[in-house]
Symmetry: C2
Subunit: 532 residues, 2 copies
Amino acid sequence: MAVTRRSFMKGLGVTGGAGLMYGAMSTIGLAPATASAPAFRAPARSDLIGRVDGHHSVVVLGGGPAGLCAAYELGKAGYDVTVLEARRRPGGRVWSVRAGTEETDLNGEKQVCTFADGHYFNLGATRIPQSHVTMDYCRELGVELQAFGNQNANTFVHYSSDTALSDRSITYRAAKADTYGYMSELLQKAASRGALDDVLTQADKDALSEFLSDFGDLSGDGRYVGSTRRGYTSEPGAGLDFGTHEPPFAMTDVIRGGIGRNFSFDFGYDQAMMMFTPVGGMDRIYYAFEDRIGTDRIEYGSEVTALQNTTEGVRVEYTRDGAPRVVDADFAICTIPPHLVTRLNHNLPADVVHALGAAEPSSSGKLGIEYTRRWWELEDRIYGGASNTDKDISQIMFPYDHYNSDRGVVVGYYSSGKRHLGFESLTHKQRLAKAIAEGAEIHGDKYTRDIASSFSGSWRRTRYSESAWASWQGAGGSHGGEATPEYTLLLDPVQNVYFAGDHLSNAIAWQHGAFTSARAVVTSLHERVAAS
Amino acid sequence: MAVTRRSFMKGLGVTGGAGLMYGAMSTIGLAPATASAPAFRAPARSDLIGRVDGHHSVVVLGGGPAGLCAAYELGKAGYDVTVLEARRRPGGRVWSVRAGTEETDLNGEKQVCTFADGHYFNLGATRIPQSHVTMDYCRELGVELQAFGNQNANTFVHYSSDTALSDRSITYRAAKADTYGYMSELLQKAASRGALDDVLTQADKDALSEFLSDFGDLSGDGRYVGSTRRGYTSEPGAGLDFGTHEPPFAMTDVIRGGIGRNFSFDFGYDQAMMMFTPVGGMDRIYYAFEDRIGTDRIEYGSEVTALQNTTEGVRVEYTRDGAPRVVDADFAICTIPPHLVTRLNHNLPADVVHALGAAEPSSSGKLGIEYTRRWWELEDRIYGGASNTDKDISQIMFPYDHYNSDRGVVVGYYSSGKRHLGFESLTHKQRLAKAIAEGAEIHGDKYTRDIASSFSGSWRRTRYSESAWASWQGAGGSHGGEATPEYTLLLDPVQNVYFAGDHLSNAIAWQHGAFTSARAVVTSLHERVAAS
């Protein structure tokens, strides 16, 4: 009975509503792409007309990215869709915190956000790579995009080490110039000594030398002696004002100080610039979904208590504003975090329950600090991007909006795993104090001043999520690419219940993962209906 | 008599209108900055009251960045300023081309731009580094900023070589992953062989190995065998869709193919991300200056014909809308391109004439192509940034605005020097044909389709500029930092005539250079008046 979502839509005779084509990247000059997945085709009414009974109902548990995407796509084919969402807003772990945002966390503490109008921070998902299907939904839904600063030469690295660079704030600009400079000098030296003659021809060596000279900004004799790429302590100006700059750090300090440990962050296929984010908050995507789906189909304040397969379909029990309710439908798409599904009154088989439990919750969270003076621009010449540190705060993210205005929201920490555990159980005031203390060590005393308000969230202590993202047992903490037995089991429906969410994708913690999972489930469900 | 503009404003007793403070970059944890230049202080009325006669007149030749900045800053102290600008618009070589832009070039060809409303490209200056004073003027003038894509992992490199990678379009993403991978493997190999033991301790080697493993995405045994950083031919999705990707290129091809030749571009202190540009066109800055200065003080359509020092001050002759006019003033600030000043009827001394002639004009230009389909987003997943090539077009720049909309303006070439000379004498139609032919080799046949309109400009063939930027004889084509005798001579006023412009700065071809030059002249002139 189980219909695998990996099957294609062949034979469906789709004639209308082709929907999104998720094209592979162009590979001109490269070997032809061998796409592993067929392009997604949105369900269409024409797929069903004259083939099957017209009316099919689907109850979607959860109004986050997976749930709203599924409801939206099924709606294109006329399915009778109901979305049950416990929160009073769409988006789930996509959560843009702004004036009026209220939340009582599982520590029992209530926060109310008082940021000035137009200011916000994304407590959950905050950036979109160019290749993700999220970009296509922004296009389809008319959500305006702006560039997201995922790299900034003027932000700082700040790490502890047993070198002279320990606990010093160094611009990425200087850290990169010195690292690349010494790296190039060393490789150039080794190659010219013949140490790599077994793997490099003379032609290779000549070309490598030319490259390294430019890459490392080496002197004529192949040495790194500093570079204007490090930046200036005083910018060059007019006339004879040539600016001033510092000499490079010592090679051993650069290497042993580990100041290049975070360079690879933005080499990642899902973190490399250019990166994007919706104007006004990531949640704009979900309000756009809500608009297309229709608010009459989304029941906010609905907390699911039971999920049962029945002989006819599914039965879902929930409370809406405290009152018990029941909905019967042909199918359910469950996007509730897997470790919370097992708390429902359900009749899922034991292996499925075991599989759901293998998706372990992870710890992560952010704290937003509203400053009434954009000191990072005025004093540090930082417009967006993040400083990186081995302190618990992990990073300080600067706003990518309201440039040059009179205030802004800085993300005082975005930390995960062990480094976030220390924040989870703190009160908001304690979190703020710790964030400011660590931040001031990096950006100075100005970090402690001109603070108007703040707001924090810790996903394991946030009701209805209780996890930042799923970490599959046996997958080594990867964000996808590991088909553990439990993960694989949940890809198939359990009678009339389908599971969807980024945790069932190879882009865990990304909206792309939630969308592709939702699309896979929608395709599978629609194929099943069309063939019935 | 000559007052050097390098002198400080000490003793001026400035008490009001402190104006912009151009702060040095924060250097927490670094040695204290030794600023080479004092912070700029805008002239203020209070500097003059009770000290000197209140009325001083300045005629500014040229309404580009230097001229408008000078007029604006002098206006703060109540100087009677007149700006003479030959064009019908402010900005000079800052030129945003949009619907209605008309230009007849020195080849005699007239172009009229027909881009759709809201679309444009900057034919001149197009980007601003965070450290440049241009950012401060945007703040002071209320010019809205947006991020400029100066780096994009999804754009292409495309070069000729004698390798298998010749004339192939390769994403920066793949080029960087392979280059960094092999570079790391080679250095790791050399270090582990002991080839660098004279310069690396064991602790250095251990730390280097850890860094290289991450930097190059090496395998456990120190080899580069490919990386997801290269990107996917099919993006990973849900379930068991792990995506598909290509193996790395061969090491010798990566090295000898020179695919990393442009990586250092965005390591530069003035090109490293984040970079910015005003919303709606770089000329927004100059319309903002115009608004502050007052249109009554800017005479457009005024072509200067004579510049003379007189015993009382200066006399400037010009034609306005064809009619001859004369203006007398206490001082002149001449921002006319140096090689054009010598064409005026002037009484400048011979050494100054010689010095002006040492600023040689350079060749550069751009061509904008309006497409009615954003194929670069839809097919190549490119949102901003530029492809780079060794063809004459040099680069293809993608728009950083109107993301995901139905049309956009691509800069089909931005080339300089020898590679631009071939475009200069062509008709616009010929330029377009050449740009499309070369662009199609990089981005495919789609480059030739869906073209609505286009516009091009070549600065040596553009009236009133006749140069993209100045190249000082003996300075080796650098953009500053070379105090040639001629350059140095022009830093001092010639009696009552001051020269200003980016050519008299260490940021040639940057607005920052024009602004700092204007500020230096304003400071010098104001100090002279206050002391008189």
